[in-house]
């Protein structure tokens, strides 16, 4: 097991390096630079030179690359051009907001998706199944920005129940503890719903399909023939096997918890990683952009690894000791 993990990480590191190098050069070769946003008729070219020098962008590209790589390996992400703060701080501020939002969305969506998927599969072709299948299809096919806008329209403008966006109200400081708690929850409800709904729908479709496949197999019939109760057959024998692909799905969703969803964060003005990523691209804030890509890249690799390890943990048929079982 340990050798397997080490080997996987060994394969992953060059990939991460290659991906980041590609990102570095694509960004540098893109037109525009961090000073573009300040340009106006009064902008002195000398100031531009000074700024470029301050950012270290006046040196040849390969020297910039080497400087970036050496400091990156030592854990130094540099200083944000746009915000004049260490990149680590910028990301630190955003990542907790994103973790809160996407972590909640992921947990809720997986739970509801798995439960509804199982129920839907057990009662295949029932009215419940029909309704669930059609509903999940619709939510799965819905653009998240549109769903978000419709929710804002209904719950914020029409009914006035929930705030339109952001994390806290303006008068948050003057509230008592309960009001503060409700304020946080109220700001979370719609974004969590939007993020969670699409993935709950896809988890449900996944779980239903996997469950239906398992239910048809011989060992389920054997269990029934032995006289195991219907409840036990469905929720223990079948579910334990059908949940395997969802475990993989969970591992693959891990990077999503950190990367944030650009569109949902824009619609609900949520100060998370997605917005950091988008503004860093627009402002040509190279250090921030590459740090965000690095985090996501590492998380994707870790997520894949965790998915495989968890798969081995829940599925006794998978063994990694013999070496070649990974592919």
């Amino acid at each position: 097991m340990l050798t397997y993990v080490i080997r996987r990480i060994g394969v992953a590191i060059p990939l991460i390096w290659l991906g980041l190098t590609l990102t570095f050069f694509i960004m540098r070769l893109a037109p525009g630079d961090p000073t573009t946003q300040y340009i106006n008729p009064d902008f002195d070219p000398e100031v531009k030179q000074l700024m470029m020098k301050k950012f270290g962008l006046d040196k040849p590209l390969h020297i910039q690359y080497w400087k970036w790589l050496t400091s990156f390996v030592q854990g130094d992400f540099g200083i944000s051009f746009d915000r004049s703060r260490p990149v680590a701080d910028v990301i630190n501020d955003a990542i907790y907001n994103t973790l809160l939002l996407n972590g909640l969305a992921l947990v809720i969506s997986l739970l509801t998706g798995v439960i509804l998927g199982i129920l839907s599969a057990i009662k295949q072709y029932s009215r419940f199944d029909d309704v669930m299948t059609v509903t999940s299809l619709f939510f799965y096919s819905m653009p998240s920005f549109w769903l978000g806008l419709m929710l804002i329209l209904i719950f914020s403008y029409l009914l006035g129940w929930l705030p339109t966006g952001g994390m806290l109200s303006v008068n948050y400081e003057y509230m008592n503890n309960w009001q503060q708690f409700w304020d946080r929850v109220a700001h979370l409800i719609m974004p969590v719903f939007v993020l969670g709904l699409a993935s709950a729908a896809s988890t449900m479709r996944y779980m239903r399909g996997s469950m239906l496949e398992i239910i048809r197999q011989d060992f389920i019939r054997t269990a029934r023939a032995k006289g195991v109760s219907e409840r036990m057959v469905n929720f223990k024998h079948a579910t334990r096997n059908a949940i395997l692909p969802v475990v993989t799905l969970f591992g693959l969703s891990i990077p999503f918890i950190f990367s944030g969803s650009i569109i949902t964060e824009i619609v609900f003005a949520w100060p998370g990683m997605g917005r950091v990523m988008l503004t860093s691209i627009f402002q040509r804030d190279y250090p921030v952009a590459i740090a965000v890509v690095a985090i996501i890249y590492i998380m994707v690799t870790m997520g894949n690894l965790i998915a495989d390890i968890m798969y081995a943990a829940v599925d006794p048929r998978v063994r990694y000791d013999s070496g070649g079982a990974s592919e």
């Binding site: 990939l15 653009p143 549109w146 806008l149 329209l153 990077p255 569109i263």
Partner: protein, 384 residues
């Protein structure tokens, strides 16, 4: 009289003239209701549009915009197809064509035809693509021109004002904009998916067939691409080259092929051990031909299922890009940028953001329904 005549007693039956002249009606009368009405609609729409807008159709002969050419050609083909299908299906209906052995492909298509939900999705898709192609003939207003802005801006949807879905802040008719916007979404989704499928098939078939270091190199490339956050890559490239339809298609295509590559590789790994591939090798068929004439066609069913299920995602990503202002640029309408505009007027004009969203949902749902039905039809495990 031999046995064959007994099986097909009506083989030389003649149809009356109205059955030839009114496509679909005869099938309707004979009990094939959905098929008959579909063919009748295919016949009816060109006739109605021709009578309604003869000037636009005839402008083809005096020089017109490319989209009017396209619409007129489509109209003409639809008209011809209704007659052709009518005659063929009528024959088929009266004297069914019984085949002894049918291919895997035909088995799948038969199972697909029995799936009502899938056929329904296919009809909706046909309708959507027809609307996109016929846009200049059916849209009530020009999607870009603004007439008398002060009088017609922010009109709410109504049946009487002539603006069915209302107007936006520039006084443009929303229905027309949605009709024209469908061209962007449907076209980009389809073309970039084709591109993805092309690249993915080539990489998958080469990796799977040759194996060894070629395979590991290609699969590492897949891993490399999968590690990138897709939207981030798209955003960087669009920021690099500027938002144009060509580049959006290229970027969406170039970032979406990894799934197809893995799928095709898996298929090829099992196919290449089968006897018919051994036979082609023994016959000395060139490798190129083995790859593209024997392996890929045999992997086609899962590829089509995958493409249909993922085209919806491509359409959603394109709409998201337009929503962020990085897709198709206004004033050219696309569903995403209409929603973006509506977002800015969400309180005073709810309809601008609402209706294009419905269009997106209907399109993506149809693709998913058809994809699900195809998957069920071609899945040998679900066969009874």
């Amino acid at each position: 009289m031999n046995s064959q005549d007994l099986t097909y007693p009506q083989s030389d039956m003649r149809f009356s003239l109205w059955e030839y002249l009114l496509p679909g009606v005869s099938l309707l009368v004979r009990g094939r209701k959905s098929l008959g009405s579909l063919i009748f609609v295919m016949f009816f729409i060109p006739v109605v549009l021709f009578i309604w807008q003869p000037a636009t159709v005839f402008s083809v002969f005096t020089g017109a915009a490319w989209d009017i050419y396209l619409a007129s050609i489509y109209l003409f083909l639809l008209f011809l197809a209704s007659y052709w299908l009518n005659v063929n299906l009528l024959q088929d209906h009266v004297t069914p064509d019984v085949k002894e052995g049918i291919s895997e492909w035909q088995v799948g298509m038969r199972r697909f035809k029995k799936n009502n939900r899938g056929m329904f999705g296919l009809v909706i898709l046909g309708f959507l693509y027809s609307v996109a192609l016929l846009a200049p003939l059916i849209s009530p207003y020009d999607p870009i021109s603004q007439e008398n802005v002060l009088q017609v801006r922010f009109l709410s949807p109504s049946l009487t004002s002539g603006y069915l879905l209302g107007t936006d802040g520039f006084g443009r008719d929303l229905l027309s904009r949605i009709i024209y916007g469908s061209r962007i979404s449907l076209f980009i989704g389809f073309v970039s998916m084709t591109l993805s499928v092309g690249i993915g098939s080539i990489i998958g078939v080469v990796g799977g067939y040759f194996g060894g270091w070629i395979d590991s190199m290609l699969m590492r490339l897949v891993d490399l691409m999968l590690g990138f956050p897709r939207l981030f890559l798209i955003l960087i490239v669009i920021a690099f080259v500027g938002p144009s339809i060509f580049w959006i298609i290229a970027v969406l295509g170039l970032t979406g092929w990894m799934g197809v590559a893995r799928l095709v590789r898996g298929q090829v790994l099992s196919l290449k051990e089968q006897e018919f591939i051994l036979a082609t090798k023994a016959l000395g068929v060139r490798t190129f031909k083995i790859l593209f004439r024997h392996l890929i066609p045999n992997a086609m069913a899962p590829i089509i299922v995958y493409a249909t299920l993922n085209i919806g995602i491509v359409i959603l990503v394109e709409a998201g890009l337009s929503f962020l202002g990085l897709g198709v640029q206004p004033p050219t309408p696309s569903w995403g940028n209409i929603v973006d505009l509506g977002r800015k007027n969400l309180i005073d004009a709810w309809w601008i953001a609402t209706f294009p969203g419905f269009a997106i949902v209907i399109t993506v749902v149809s693709f998913n329904i058809v994809g699900d039905a195809l998957r069920d039809a071609f899945d040998p495990r679900l066969r009874d």
